[in-house]
């Protein structure tokens, strides 16, 4: 931003580091009968990275929406640089210098990166868009966020999801934001990309931007945050300097209780394996994979992104064909050629990306749970048994502690963790012989994570053979009866319960830059 030809007024030096930039007091918002937030208080300072944490449904999203103008508060006060302000539209927020990067990239696929960055705030000359000026500015921004300058004129549809996320940040920065809200920016990024992100965040903070950082990866907070505000059940519990907190303390504040650390003892019944992968290979993806899962056992394939672990899961579920090797189910070789075929064999899948796969977001919870199990819930295979559908849904809502007023609520109105539980519920309607979970708790908060683990464990106890593919190491260690490391497309070392993170990581190799977990 120091270049002379910058198109923006030079950012003022942080006038008074730590000065109050944005403050909310007593803010409340209700949606119908649901009180999304009540009496929320938060003060964000210039040049500070302020983390906002809480379980899904705790009210973080609503608070962010209020600050970014996507929703308006029912009561309460917002002050910006000491002045009371009224944010009634996204345009108001942008005009104040409050920029938001949403979790899902909010981009236009057919427009170029430069156009995306400037949509809604085009630089114009005599009524026409000044492409040259926009491009020059975008090139600076691309450098700042670590993308090649030539991307300026590339349509966004040609970039990867991670690159799109970075473009979203560039988009937020173009207005010389004074407050930058990052809503789970790291959820879809790899470790290397997260490092780049942190670099950008630090640089921005050092120029005096106040940053509100939302994340479910709590260990990140200790790398990047200066202060932490914790929300629970729609209320802000308070704000602490990061030095006064630990991951454990944050989790306790979020869930409102003391965390149970030791996973319940779980013995696997001695039985012949239910699912066996024998020398399974898929050209270009993985090779010579050997895995055996007994009924009631939870086996985890731990591998970093690109290790081939995800592709192995897809093969079991019939989304990908193996080129050699065998899959045995109860001793019989199977070759599911489609998810439908896999399901008929009794194999259920919890897909990795719940936003893209597996959910009908505008349909009700009941619909989503029963989709795929229509024969079971219909009479004589024809008309739907609506009463039974609702009953099953209610049953699952209770069993999974999904937070929702009723089973007719559309999934689109639910938080991420709750949506994930609905996907899980759907697969559990017909107690599957084998359950395959891919990244089951990605982007899910700690509380929901615990619940999902609990559900998976209780399913295993009922005799399901569970195969989990994850790149979340603590999760892999916590939940598995056995853990197999996938590296460079093949299964390598195996660990029992209680393995140390260091050992597993060493086996997975390539995880050299693992941040010191607090």
């Amino acid at each position: 931003m120091s270049e002379t030809r910058t198109t923006e007024p030079a950012p003022s030096p942080p006038p008074d580091p730590g000065a109050e930039r944005l403050s909310v007091t007593g803010v409340s918002k209700r949606y119908g009968a649901v009180r999304a937030i009540r009496n929320a208080d938060m003060t964000v300072r210039a040049g500070s990275v302020h983390a906002l944490v809480g379980e899904n449904g705790a009210g973080k999203s609503t608070l962010i929406k209020i600050l970014s103008g996507a929703a308006t508060a029912d009561t309460g006060r917002i002050t910006f640089e000491g002045r009371p302000v009224n944010i009634s539209s996204t345009a108001d927020a942008i005009a104040l210098g409050i920029a938001t990067v949403y979790q899902e990239p909010q981009l236009f696929p057919d427009l170029t990166v430069a156009e995306n960055v400037f949509t809604g705030r085009e630089i114009t000359r005599r009524g026409r868009v000044d492409w040259a000026a926009q491009n020059a500015r975008v090139v600076e921004l691309l450098e700042l966020i670590g993308l090649p300058a030539r991307y300026a004129t590339v349509p966004v549809s040609e970039l990867s999801i991670a690159e799109q996320q970075q473009v979203s940040i560039a988009k937020a920065l173009v207005g010389n934001a004074k407050v930058l809200i990052l809503d789970e920016p790291s959820a879809i990024l790899t470790d290397a990309e997260i490092e780049v992100l942190f670099g950008v965040v630090r640089r921005l903070a050092s120029t005096g931007v106040a940053i509100i950082y939302i994340s479910h990866r709590l260990d990140e907070l200790f790398v990047i945050a200066d202060e932490v505000t914790v929300m629970r059940d729609g209320q802000t519990l308070g704000t602490w300097p990061i030095e006064e907190l630990s991951v454990r303390r944050v989790v306790e504040l979020m869930v409102g209780g003391i965390l149970e650390d030791t996973p319940p003892e779980h013995t696997v019944p001695d039985a012949p394996p239910r699912l066996v992968l024998e020398g399974l290979s898929c050209e270009g993806e993985y090779s010579d994979v050997d895995v055996a899962v007994r009924p009631g056992e939870i086996v985890t394939l731990y591998g970093l992104i690109g290790s081939g672990a995800a592709e192995i899961a897809e093969t079991v579920y019939g989304m990908r064909r193996a080129t050699s090797g065998r899959i045995l189910l109860d001793g019989k070789p199977i070759a599911p050629h489609s998810p439908r075929a896999a399901k008929r064999l009794g194999i259920a899948l919890l897909p990795a990306n719940r936003k893209l796969q597996g959910l009908f977001s505008f349909q009700s919870i009941a619909f989503n749970i029963s989709a795929g199990h229509l024969p079971m819930l219909s009479k004589l295979g024809t008309w739907m048994d609506r009463r039974r559908e609702r009953q099953v849904a209610r049953d699952f809502i209770a069993r999974l502690s999904v937070k929702t007023p009723h089973e007719r609520q559309p999934v689109s109105a639910m938080s991420g963790g709750n949506a994930q539980k609905v996907v899980l519920a759907r697969q559990l309607v017909e107690r599957p012989k084998v359950l395959v979970l891919a990244e089951p708790t990605q982007g899910v908060d700690v509380g929901a994570k615990e619940e999902i683990h609990r559900i998976v464990r209780s399913l295993a106890e009922e005799g399901t053979a569970v195969l989990i593919v994850t790149s979340d190491l603590p999760e892999a260690i916590r939940i598995s009866d056995r853990l197999q490391v996938v590296r460079a497309g093949t299964t390598t070392v195996e660990f029992g319960p209680g393995a140390s993170q260091a050992d597993v990581l060493a086996a997975a190799a390539g995880a050299v830059d693992q941040e010191e977990a607090a």
């Binding site: 942008i94 909010q106 057919d110 809604g120 085009e122 492409w131 040259a132 491009n135 004129t153």
Partner: protein, 345 residues
């Protein structure tokens, strides 16, 4: 830094003037798409083939009516392009043509309305009907196809009421300026075609180079994201339908001008489909977010070439439906392939 730090629209700081033309370079995708080039090639090939097959094709008596016939379709198509770019559609334009045409025809017959009055009247009525569509679609949040399907029937009812079960006869030649006769041409080029080209050029510039135009693409790409970026989505969407109404009003004058002195209640029938066909053949994605006016004008030209060609060759006229149908399917197929290719990369 106490005031807004947003880049002021319209006023780029002085530092930008330093950019040389060279630096400016190509900052948008190439101004002409592959599909448009293919269209030009196909049209040229058809014209060459037709010229060889029937010597009468490349004569004034054949080309002028072709241009006059395509002008109203292309004009409506320009508005339709803008609408489809936002992810909408308007199937009520035939109804708008009908209402505008009958009102204007009656005004000329009964009150001897002059050319400017007739055109102004038609454009204003078209704009008002477009406003009805726009308000319902932008603020009613129901999909455009349902709304305009409803209003299409209302407009048709309105038009039939105005016709009163009979034709409008003895229409004076007030609109001959837009007709295919000598009065409708300058240097041999039909005025209606020229006006259409001018409007197409303006629309092309607007869509490609102004913030408002780019916002239309943004809305078609992701309306929620556009709203969050501060785009006035509802107002933009509404204005697309108003624009189409205005252009359809003008097109109604062209339709009267190219016809006889009698206006029958079937006026405008099928024009919504002809306009949508031109837009789709022109490469505008029916999913929204991508498209161009140039493609639409070429699409309209191709459709009219096929229709005229079939007539001139003395083939059965239903063959033109066959050819146009094939062109539409090819265009939609190309769009689908593009979307799929994008998803897999």
């Amino acid at each position: 830094m106490s005031s807004s730090t947003l880049t002021p629209p319209g006023g780029a700081p002085a530092g930008q003037q330093a950019h040389t033309a060279k630096e400016r370079g190509r900052v948008l995708p190439f101004p002409i798409t592959g599909q448009e080039i293919v269209l030009i090639v196909v049209i040229v090939a058809l014209w060459v083939a037709l010229a060889l097959a029937t010597p009468a094709f490349l004569t004034e008596g054949s080309i002028v009516p072709l241009f006059v016939a395509m002008a109203p379709v292309a004009l409506i198509g320009i508005g339709m392009t803008v609408i489809i770019i936002t992810g909408g559609i308007d199937v009520s334009v035939a109804g708008i043509v009908m209402v505008c045409a009958v009102v204007v025809a009656k005004a000329m017959v009964d009150s001897g309305a002059s050319l400017p009055v007739a055109v102004a009247l038609s454009v204003v009525i078209g704009g008002l009907l477009g406003l009805v569509n726009g308000v319902l679609i932008a603020y009613g949040r129901v999909h455009a196809i349902i709304i305009t399907f409803g209003t299409a029937n209302l407009f048709k009812f309105l038009g039939l009421q105005l016709f009163g079960g009979t034709t409008v006869d003895n229409i004076p030649g007030t609109l001959a300026f837009f007709g295919r006769g000598e009065a409708g041409r300058t240097l041999g080029v039909p005025h209606s075609f020229l006006v259409m080209l001018l409007i197409a050029a303006a629309a092309w510039y607007y869509l490609r180079h102004t913030p408002g135009g780019r916002h239309l693409y943004a809305i078609g790409g992701d309306a929620d994201a556009a709203r969050l970026a501060g785009v006035k989505v509802q107002r933009r969407v509404m204005s697309a339908y108003v624009l189409t109404g205005l252009l359809t009003g003008l097109a109604a004058c062209f339709v009267i001008a190219r016809g006889t002195s009698t206006l029958a209640p079937n006026v405008g029938a099928g024009m919504e489909l002809a306009a949508i066909a031109a837009v789709v053949i022109g490469g505008t994605s029916i999913m929204g977010g991508r498209g161009s006016v140039l493609g639409t004008v070429l699409g309209a030209l191709l459709v009219q070439t096929v229709t005229s060609g079939v007539t001139q060759l003395g083939w059965r006229s239903q063959l033109s439906s066959l050819f146009i149908g094939i062109f539409i399917l090819i265009a939609v197929g190309a769009d689908l392939l593009r979307q799929r290719a994008r998803r897999t990369t």
